[in-house]
């Protein structure tokens, strides 16, 4: 999956499920859209469905510091890359 395809899927989640209004790639989701720890946990469950494998506990803990849409994409790409290596 390319980064653009991933971005489209995550944007859909943020806009449709989380009802964020057009989040920018580098916009702080916590400050601008109220993204919190509950959202992070919900997002992780959705990411697992996208990537098709379970995320380990220590990997999930890293997601708690996610700030922007770009952070989310970097996080997912790192997960996929770690599984491949």
């Amino acid at each position: 999956m390319t980064r653009d395809e991933l971005q489209e899927k995550i944007l859909t989640i943020l806009e449709k499920d989380f009802e964020f209004d057009h989040p920018g790639l580098d916009e702080n989701l916590r400050d601008e859209h109220g993204f919190d720890s509950i959202d992070a946990i919900e997002l992780l469950a959705k990411i697992e469905k996208i990537i098709g494998f379970s995320i380990a506990r220590e990997e999930k803990e890293k997601a708690m510091s996610i700030g922007t849409l770009n952070d989310i994409l970097d996080y997912i790409e790192a997960l996929i890359s770690a599984r491949k290596s």
Binding site: F18, G34, I38, D39, E42, A45, E48
Partner: protein, 414 residues
């Protein structure tokens, strides 16, 4: 030093309407909110009782996802009535968030809809579905979900009481909130309870032989409190909330005082968890009068718990007779909407407030022939125009919990 506590706001979502005008209209017209039980694809095929006190109208919640994400259906009810009361109250946001306003609110067991979905996942044998159970499901279904969703939505930082005691959930919430304000622990409390549409509750009472089953084809003919042909309770849904304030500050800010809470009592039967207990109930009624410092003859109206079970109504009638005799009018308000479980105490209090304000008492519906064992009471058989100065709202719960609340018309307090 004890302070005087007044009710300055209320709102209810009930099977006979949402808000003051709808509910008063239903009471005046004798309109029942009992409807056929909806098929849930799970339990309804096995339940004998096919009736439910149903909220079947749409409600405009308007909650953003920021709040919805931790709410099950029961919290929607709770937050909606809380918003109604806070918006109408005129309380400043500084006070609401000051720590001097608390919340005493609960439901019988969180959100059963969400709990059922969790159990479905447990039995799905699907690893991917199992991983979908998360913190949000707990936040939606935990027993204090209503109270903390209210605090979250409005930034309330005072005390939380989540008294989950089955059918006395909200009457205890009000009583404990009253004591918080009376003894100076808080200056104001939002008090009440809610329960959502739930067939598991029907199944439980059905198995205990406590549900009405003889009127499945004529839902509005049941429940029948105090009637000789009653055959059990009807489970219902709904929510209600009252705002309690210390009298002086309520007066200083010019709040409309609906009533004063003048007494509260709660005790336990100390024995059987299901059967009603005459000694325990009688003691509660007397303890509330003692707390208020009034004589039984000063009470004009009793909102009876009156679930329409075969034994419960008889025991309650005996207790009322022992304490009050045949002086006060007695109505079983569950005849209009069934037993709204954790919400029944506050809803029945709010209906009593409305009737006090309007100057009438609604009759018990379906009371065609009074059971001779309950005939010693002064039943409200027709819509009665009367001024009510003091009213009692009494509720009793599985577990042997009993409550009695006494309120005084706010007309003279304003």
């Amino acid at each position: 030093m004890a302070r005087r506590v007044v009710i300055t706001g209320c709102s209810a979502i009930t099977p006979i309407g949402y808000g003051r005008a709808d509910i008063i209209d239903s009471l005046r017209k004798g309109r029942s909110g009992v409807k056929p039980l909806r098929d849930d694809g799970l339990l309804t095929d096995y339940i004998h009782s096919r009736v439910f006190g149903t909220v079947d109208y749409s409600i405009d919640y308007g909650f953003s996802r920021q709040y919805r994400k931790t709410m099950g259906p029961v919290a929607y009810y709770a937050c909606r009535v809380a918003r109604d009361v806070l918006e109408a109250s005129g309380l400043s946001s500084e006070f609401i968030t000051s720590g001097r306003l608390g919340v005493s609110f609960s439901s019988t067991h969180g959100s059963p809809t969400v709990q059922r979905d969790i159990y479905k996942t447990f039995f799905s044998n699907s690893k991917s579905e199992f991983s979908s159970i998360g913190a949000v499901d707990y936040l939606k279904s935990m027993v204090h979900t209503t109270a903390v969703n209210i605090t979250r939505m409005f930034g309330i930082t005072g005390r939380i009481i989540a008294s989950s005691t089955a059918c006395t959930t909200s009457s205890q919430s009000i009583g404990l909130g009253y004591e918080m304000v009376k003894y100076g622990m808080q200056d104001a409390m939002l008090c009440g309870g809610a329960d959502e549409y739930d067939t598991t509750t029907v199944a439980v009472f059905d198995n205990l032989l406590a549900c009405s089953i003889a009127y499945n084809d004529t839902p509005q003919a049941t429940p029948r409190p105090f009637d000789q042909n009653r055959d059990g309770l009807v489970v219902g849904e709904g929510a209600g909330i009252v705002l309690l304030e210390e009298l002086k500050s309520a007066k200083d800010r010019g709040a409309d005082i609906l009533a004063e809470v003048i007494g509260f009592a709660s005790n336990n039967n100390g024995g059987d968890l299901i059967l009603p207990n005459l000694d325990g109930i009688t003691a509660t009624l007397q303890l509330a009068l003692d707390d208020a410092g009034i004589a039984p003859g000063e009470v004009d109206f009793i909102s009876a718990h009156a679930t329409a079970t075969k034994m419960g109504d008889v025991i309650e009638a005996q207790a009322i007779d022992a304490i009050y005799g045949s002086s006060p009018l007695v109505t079983g308000l569950k005849s209009y909407m069934g037993h709204t479980m954790g919400a029944c105490g506050v809803i029945e209090l709010i209906l009593t407030l409305y009737m006090m304000k309007e100057g009438f008492i609604a009759p018990t519906l379906n009371l065609d022939t009074v059971d001779e064992r309950c005939s010693m009471l002064r039943h409200t058989s027709d819509l009665t125009r009367t001024e009510t100065n003091i009213a009692a709202v009494q509720n009793f719960a599985f577990g042997g919990v009993n409550t009695s609340l006494l309120i005084k018309n706010g007309r003279q307090t304003n």
